[in-house]
Amino acid sequence: MNVSCNLGALAKTKWYEYLVRFAFGGAITVTAGILAKRFGPVFGGLFLAFPAIFPASATLLAKHETRKKQNVGIVSSSRGRQAAAVDAAGATLGSVGLAAFALTIWKLLPYYHSALVFLAAKAVWLTLAILTWRIWRKHLCR
């Protein structure tokens, strides 16, 4: 299955759902900062891997899928939960890329310009996440 982009999906998300994501992301970032100041950078760093995006997107996805089914008259459906499970499978694979992102910054930041290191780390994250996903699709997802 090819990867595609549907910009129309943005219109399905309501304004308050965007607001919840924004507030949740901001709150987690502030919490990570406070914990790092209070208990030291290594402990605070644990919270940098907090899945801030996943809970919000999985619940919204389940809601949208359920709503879609209700709109065509199917009241009882497990599709919303199934869609959230697929999203979680993708997030599991993305976590491999997240580790590589952190490792890249950890090893390179002392020696190179920070902007360059962040760009390299993002590239490593994206490449590894996509590669893991492709391997999963090809060999494990039957």
Partner: protein
């Protein structure tokens, strides 16, 4: 800044298909990017903190695996998902035990 990055990645996840691919962005380093970026801009001491996500990743992977298994299992057994009373007693074809076996229709 954290809120903006989280919203951006979440929106990317919204528009991409298939859903398992969009899920990759659920584990995007949004908080790490925001916090490390701000730290480096402020005092250049972010290098120490970047060790953290390598340990935290285990928790993230565990959470996602548990989430996948729980949701797939709940769908298979037809149990309602916690916190969503409108969902009820459907029967699905998801298998648990590995991350495969997702019905193709769900991916679209």
């Amino acid at each position: 800044m954290g809120g903006m990055i989280v919203s951006l990645f979440a929106s990317l996840g919204d528009v991409l298909k298939p859903k398992s691919f969009a899920g990759l962005f659920g584990a995007a380093p949004s908080v790490a990017l925001a916090t490390l970026g701000l730290t480096v801009l402020a005092d250049g001491k972010g290098v120490c903190r970047s060790r953290g996500p390598i340990h935290g990743r285990r928790s993230c992977i565990l959470l996602c695996i548990l989430g996948t298994l729980y949701l797939a299992n709940a769908a298979q057994k037809g149990q309602p998902c916690a916190g969503d009373n409108r969902e009820s007693y459907g029967v699905a074809g998801s298998r648990i035990g590995n991350l495969g076996g997702i019905p193709a229709a769900i991916e679209k």
